[in-house]
Symmetry: D2
C-alpha cells in the first residue's frame, strides 16, 4: 500500500463523491484526507483526496472514475503522495525569497526538489552552489529576451519541471511564456494586491501612509499582477517606518507568503476556478 493524492476538477452534479469513493473502495483503498468544494460561480466541482492503495490499482481507479456518468471531468490525476514537485527558481538580485526556499527545501519543510536556479545576474551563484543546486546565469537584454525564454522553456522541459517560482525575478515574461507556464508558475508580488501595482510599491505605501503592508503570491498570467491569487499576508507598520524599512519589513512577509504558496502548490492543494483559486 502506498499513499496517493488524487485531484479532480469536473462539472458539479450528483454522484461524484459516490463514484470516486466507490472506485477507491473497490480496490480496497483507504481514504485518509478528502476536501471538496462546489463553486457556484463557475458550477465546477473540485476534489482533493489522499488515499492509501496498492500502486498497481491506481489505473483501475482512474478507469472506473472515467467510466462514471457522474464525472464529466476537466482534470483528473493521481500522484504518489511522496513525489516531490520538481521546482525551478528564477531570481534576480534580491535573495531573501531564494534563501528561504532553499532552506525550507533542505530542512525537509517543503515537498519540492529544487532542480535548478536561473538568474539574469551572478549575485546569488555562491548561495545557490552552497546548497548544492545547479546555477544557470541567463542574462536578459532586449535583444536576447526571446532566446533566453526559449532556453528557459528548454530547461523546464529537460528537467521535467512541475513548478517555476519567480522569487523576486525582475524580468517581465512574454505573453507566450506565461501561456506555456500557465498554472505552474508562481510569482511573489511585493504588495497586497489589488493595492499598489507596478514599481516601488513600498514607496507608494509610504506616501499613502498605509498602516499595513503586504505581499501576494499568484499564478503568472499575461496580465501582469492580475493572475489568480494563491496566498496573501500583511504586517502592521507605522508612520515612523521609512520606505527603506518598509522594504526590509516587506522581505519578511514576501518570503512567508511565497513559501506558503509553493507548499500549497507542491501538495496539490491549489485549483484554478476562473480568476480565483480554490486552496484546500
Amino acid at each position: 500500500m502506498a499513499r496517493h493524492i488524487m485531484t479532480l476538477t469536473c462539472d458539479d452534479r450528483p454522484g461524484i463523491v459516490a463514484a470516486v469513493s466507490t472506485a477507491l473502495l473497490d480496490v480496497n483503498a483507504n481514504i485518509v484526507e478528502n476536501q471538496q468544494f462546489s463553486d457556484e460561480d463557475t458550477n465546477l466541482f473540485f476534489m482533493r483526496t489522499v488515499f492509501d492503495a496498492a500502486q498497481d490499482e491506481v489505473q483501475t481507479v482512474l478507469d472506473a472514475i472515467d467510466r462514471s456518468a457522474a464525472v464529466e471531468h476537466q482534470h483528473l490525476a493521481v500522484r504518489p503522495a511522496d513525489e516531490r514537485c520538481r521546482t525551478l527558481i528564477l531570481v534576480s538580485r534580491f535573495d531573501h525569497c531564494l534563501l528561504d526556499l532553499l532552506y525550507r527545501w533542505k530542512s525537509g519543510d517543503l515537498p519540492i526538489d529544487i532542480v535548478g536556479v536561473v538568474s539574469n545576474h551572478e549575485d546569488t551563484r555562491g548561495l545557490v552552489e552552497y546548497y548544492g543546486v545547479p546555477f544557470t546565469h541567463l542574462p536578459v537584454t532586449k535583444e536576447t529576451k526571446a532566446a533566453a525564454e526559449a532556453e528557459l522553456l528548454r530547461l523546464v522541459a529537460a528537467q521535467d519541471v512541475g513548478l517555476v517560482v519567480l522569487a523576486r525575478y525582475m524580468q517581465i515574461l512574454s505573453d507566450d511564456l506565461c501561456q506555456q507556464l500557465a498554472g505552474r508558475a508562481i510569482n511573489i508580488h511585493h504588495s497586497f494586491l489589488p493595492g499598489f501595482k507596478g514599481a516601488k510599491p513600498y514607496h507608494q505605501a509610504h506616501e499613502r501612509g498605509v498602516k499595513l503592508i503586504g505581499a501576494s503570491a499568484h499564478y503568472v498570467t499575461g496580465d501582469l499582477d492580475e493572475g489568480p491569487i494563491i496566498e496573501q499576508d500583511v504586517v502592521r507598520v507605522t508612520h515612523a517606518e521609512t520606505p527603506e524599512r518598509l522594504v526590509a519589513i516587506g522581505r519578511d512577509v514576501e518570503r512567508r507568503v511565497l513559501s506558503r504558496a509553493v507548499r500549497d502548490h507542491a501538495e496539490s492543494r491549489v485549483f484554478l476556478s476562473g480568476r480565483r483559486t480554490i486552496v484546500f
Copy 2:
C-alpha cells in the same frame, strides 16, 4: 429538496465515505459540502456533510448508513440546514459578550435562536428586554446553588436548548451540571489558555509583561478552564497598557472568540475527539 447537515463520528476504517455517499446518491441527494478528518490519536473518523434531499428520504439515508458494515458509529445525526440552534445565555454583570451575541443574532449573522437569558444579577435585564428576549433572574448563593442549577436544567429541558453559552458567567458550575451539559455548553475564558488560569488573568498578564493577550472559548467540563478548546485569538499589547486597559482590550477579543465558537457549534462544525476539538 431541502438542505440538510449530517454529522458522523465513527471508528476509522475503509468504506465510510463510499457508504455515506452511496446512501445519499440512492435517494438522489446532492452533496454540497463535505469535510472529514481521521484522527490518528484516537482512531476516530469525523465527517460533516451538507446535502440537498427530499425531507422524507432522510430516514432512508440514516438507515442505509446504519446497515453499512463500514460504519461503526458513535454518533450519526441529520438536521435541517436552516434549523437554528436553540440557545440559552448565562451572564453575570459584564455585558459585552451578551450584547455581541444579541446583536449578531438580531442581524442574522448567527444561526441561533436565543430563547432566553439567565443571570444571577439584574444588570442586563434592560438590554435583554430591548432585544425582546425573556430574562430570568436566577440569584445564586451557597445555599441556593443546587436549586438554581436544577432550575437551569429545567429551563434547558423545557426550552429544548441545544446550546448554553456562558457569556462571562461568573459562577462555577457543579460537576453534575457540567456532566449534564457536556458538549453543549460553551464558556469564554478571558485568557489565552493554557496561559493564565484562575482569577484576574489580565492583571497576571500585566505583571508578567506579556506582549499578547488572548481569549479562549471551550466546552465546559468539570475540570475548570480545561475543557476542549474550540477557538482562540490574541491581540498585541505593550508595556504602556494598564491592567484596566488590558481588560478593555480583552473584551474585544473575548466577544470575537466567543461568537466564532458559537457559530461553529451552531453550524454543527465542532466535534469532540478526546480532549481536543475538530472544527470544520
Copy 3:
C-alpha cells in the same frame, strides 16, 4: 493639579523639546507621557505630551512656548485629559458600527460624548433612543442635499462637535462640507485601501479571489476614499466565503477599525502630515 494633553505641530528644528519641557517645568508641571516624531518628508515636528499641572498655569505654558524662538508652530493646543470629544455620528441603514460606538461609549471604553446621531433613514432610531441619544432624521435627496448639509453644519456648530463619524453613512458629502469638516470627520471605508474603491468592495474582493479582506478608517476629504488613513485591519478569508459572508465578516473588521480610529482621534493621538497621518 489636573492632567492635560498638549498637541504641537511645528517646523522641525533644534530646541523644541527643551522649550516645551522647560516651559512645563517652570510651572512645576510633571510630564506623564510624551511622544514625538520628525517627518523627514515634510520637515514637520509632531509632539503629544500628557502632563499634570495646575489649571491656571496652562496659559503660562502656552505663552512661554509661543515666545520660544525654537517653536515656529502651526498648531499648539492644550486640553484637559478628561475632556471628552463631542461626537456626532452619521449613519444610514447598516447599524453595526453605530451600535459598536454606542456600546463602547456607554461602557466607558471610548473617551467621547455622543451628542447626537443623524441619519437619512429612520431604521436606527429605536437603537439610538434606547441608548438615550438624540436622533435626527435628515433625509437627503438631490434637491434637499444642500439644505441637509447646511443643517448638519448648524448641528455641528450648535453642539460644539469635535468629531463627526461617518459610521457607514451612504451619502457622498459635498466638497464644501468636506472642507468645513477637514480633520474632524472620520469615515470607515469597507475595504483595505487602496484596494477596492467604489461600490460593493466585498463583491469585488470575492470575484478577485483575495485571501484577506479589510477595512480602512480615514479622514474625510473631497477626494473620495483618498483621505489620510488613520487605521486599517484585515481578516483572513477563503474561497468558500460567499460575497454575503464576506459582507458579514467585513462588518466585524469595519467596526473594530472605526472604533480604534475614533479612540485615537478622541485621545488627540492623530496628526496630519500631508496625505499621511502620524498616530501616537
Copy 4:
C-alpha cells in the same frame, strides 16, 4: 555631527525631560527621536533619545545630566547610533534561528556584528563558516559544564560581546552564568509563555488541541522560561496539524520573534522594569 542613542533609567520625578533636552540643546544637539515611559508599578522613568551632536560634546551632555538634581539615575549611557551590537550566538542542532540571524545580519537588516557562533555540536559548522563567522565547538557534558561555561564567559569578555543569543541552544545555563549575562542574553522559547513550559511544547500543544501556537523571546534569568519577555507572536493552527507539522510551523514563528527581539535589543530599545520589559 554624528548620530547617538541615549538610554536613561531613573526615578520618576519632574524635570527629567527638561534636564536632558536642555543638556542636549546646550551643545547644539538635535533630537531626532524620543521615547519615554513612566512605570507606575516601579516608579521608574525610562527614556530613549536619538540625537545628532558633535562627538566631543557627548561627555558634556552626560556630565550635565549627571549634575541635574532631577535625574537620580540608575542607568545612563550614550552610544553611537551606527555602533553595531557585538553578538555571540549559541546554538545546538536546530539551525533555523541561526540561519535567520546570519542572513539578516549579512543583508544589513540587523544592526549587529556576529562575532562568533558557539555550539555543543558540529552540525552547523558548515553554515556558519559559509557566512564567514568563526565557529567554536564547545561540547558540554555533566563533567565539563563548568569549564565550558568558563570558556564561554572568556569568549564574551575577549570579544567584548554585548549580546548573547540562545538560538535554540539546548543546554540549561547555570545560575551563575545567567547572573553574569543578566540583561544581555536572549533566549527563544518555543512556546507562547506562560503557556507550555518545559520539554516538547508543540506536542503538549497538540494534545491540548490549542488553535494558536506561539513563541516568546525573553532575557535569560536563573528562573528557567521565566525571564522578562521581550517579544511574542502566534500563528493559527488546526486540528489537522500533526505534532511534527506544529514543530515546522513553530520554526517560522520562533525565528521571526527572535530576530525582532535581537533588533530591539541591538537598537537599545529594551529596558528592564522588574519582571517586565519596556520596549520602545
